[in-house]
């Protein structure tokens, strides 16, 4: 096998191996300490993306330089079955991730295409909302790259002008923080966790945290706005219930939608947001990793050689 083909296999196989190890660490952490309602959405996002992003970083910052530096030039080497199996696993994971991402985008596009008619409503300066003459009590942000806000007329009719403005401010807060793009990353993370219920659970907790944070950002510290959003939220919840009760296929594993927690959170005085610690620690680690890995290159290359030859 040529050196270039071997390098490709090694990168894929080490990506799979590292992603498996990081997935196991993530799963362990989630089981022991992850179910904390106060966790910020950014921490959950980082946690969910850790296996794939961490593995990619380690491959590019450690495995690739070690291979390039210590692999003898012009030498042809045969790959063992374990290397092939891991490389295939990585390829399947990447393909599955791309497929999930493409499917999610295409479903959002289909939904947006259906929502294109109706009337445009100015939610704030320069931000337009599609108002739909639909029976469903829908208020949503659809799409990842260019998210659009859609709302049904039934919601506008049920809410007062102030409540409807507050509800739209909540959706604008989602747009401002690019929550749908983050959701797309969560849905398409190419790692072993994607095949487990844990991925769904982390995504559901992330959704709940993102909703709470959008409430807080939209309402700010003004008691009137907080009250209007709480009232609007309750009216939409009533409409959802009247429209057809629970829709399990759309429900989240965490308390259907924590309407009660969100309303109570809005009625309580605003709290200072907690600082996100996980991303800060990871950013520092990411910057230091290439430097820290320098003395380990010979050892890493030795491990790669063993992996290549295992089972041959």
């Amino acid at each position: 096998m040529s050196a270039a083909a071997l390098l490709g296999l090694v990168l894929l196989a080490t990506f799979a191996l590292l992603s498996l190890v990081l997935s196991a660490i993530t799963a362990l952490w989630w089981r022991t300490a992850g179910h904390n309602r106060a966790v910020r959405s950014v921490d959950l996002l980082t946690l969910r993306l850790l296996p794939a992003a961490g593995a990619l970083l380690l491959v590019l910052a450690v495995v690739l330089p070690a291979f390039m530096r210590y692999e003898p030039q012009g030498e042809r080497e045969a790959a063992g079955p374990l290397l092939w199996a891991l490389a295939l696993f990585a390829t399947a994971g990447l393909a599955h991730g791309i497929w999930r991402g493409a499917r999610a985008c295409s479903a959002a596009r289909a939904l947006l295409a259906r929502c294109r008619a109706g009337t445009a409503y100015e939610a704030s300066a320069g931000r337009w909302v599609q108002l739909l003459a639909a029976r469903e009590p829908l208020v949503a942000v659809i799409g990842a790259w260019r998210p659009r806000i859609v709302a049904s007329e039934s919601v506008r009719a049920a809410c007062s002008a102030e409540e409807f403005r507050a509800v739209l401010a909540h959706e604008l807060a989602h747009c401002a923080t690019r929550d749908n793009l983050k959701l797309l990353l969560l849905l398409s993370a190419p790692d072993a966790l994607a095949w487990t219920p844990l991925a769904t659970s982390v995504t559901a907790h992330w959704r709940a945290a993102a909703e709470r944070e959008a409430d807080q950002r939209a309402a700010g510290s003004d008691p009137g706005r907080r009250l209007a959003l709480a009232a609007g939220l309750l009216k939409v919840a009533r409409l959802v219930q009247d429209h057809g009760g629970p829709r399990p296929e759309l429900g989240m594993p965490v308390a259907s939608d924590d309407v009660a927690g969100r309303v109570r959170g809005l009625l309580a005085p605003p709290r200072q947001p907690r600082h996100a610690r996980v991303p800060l620690a990871l950013a520092l680690g990411t910057l230091l990793l290439p430097l820290l890995a320098l003395p380990c290159y010979p050892l890493v290359h030795e491990l790669i050689e063993r992996l290549v030859g295992l089972g041959r």
């Binding site: 939904l111 259906r114 445009a120 942000v141 769904t200 629970p246 296929e249 009660a260 109570r264």
Partner: protein, 144 residues
């Protein structure tokens, strides 16, 4: 902050109802008229179209359950089954239900304000309404 009508509304209607350009045109003409119209009436408004083409298209719209018809001498007089707004609402709702139902939570890039409420949440919503009312009174009193 007033709503403004969507532009080129017949385009989305066409794509959502699965209608062809001619079907959409005739449907729009029937909506504009106060009462029913025969193929002959519509042909006088669209002289470029052949009588038989209009008759076939109207029949197709009737079979799609978008038009009602009654005998008017030897011909049929057609009228829309519902108003334009009712049809748009019906189409949007039908498609939304279909799309939202078909796409599981994990398969669409969508953030909704409230996704699902449990049956058991009804009492809880009443309780929360009480809390909102109490807070509203408290705020009103403080403003006085």
């Amino acid at each position: 902050m007033a709503p403004r009508p969507a532009s080129a509304a017949s385009g989305p209607l066409r794509s959502r109802a699965g209608l062809g350009p001619l079907e959409t045109r005739l449907l729009e003409l029937l909506w504009e008229r106060a009462g029913p119209a025969t193929a002959g009436d519509l042909q006088r408004e669209c002289p470029a179209l052949a009588y038989t083409t209009i008759m076939t298209t109207l029949d197709r719209l009737y079979r799609k359950r978008l038009l009602l018809r009654e005998r008017s001498g030897r011909a049929f007089a057609y009228r829309p089954r519902c108003t334009r707004d009712e049809l748009v609402s019906e189409l949007v709702s039908g498609h939304l239900t279909q799309l939202l139902g078909a796409s599981s939570e994990s398969a669409v890039v969508l953030s909704t304000l409230v996704r699902a409420v449990r049956d058991t949440d009804a009492a809880l919503l009443d309780e929360l309404d009480e809390l909102v009312r109490a807070e509203r009174s408290r705020l009103a009193e403080r403003r006085k």
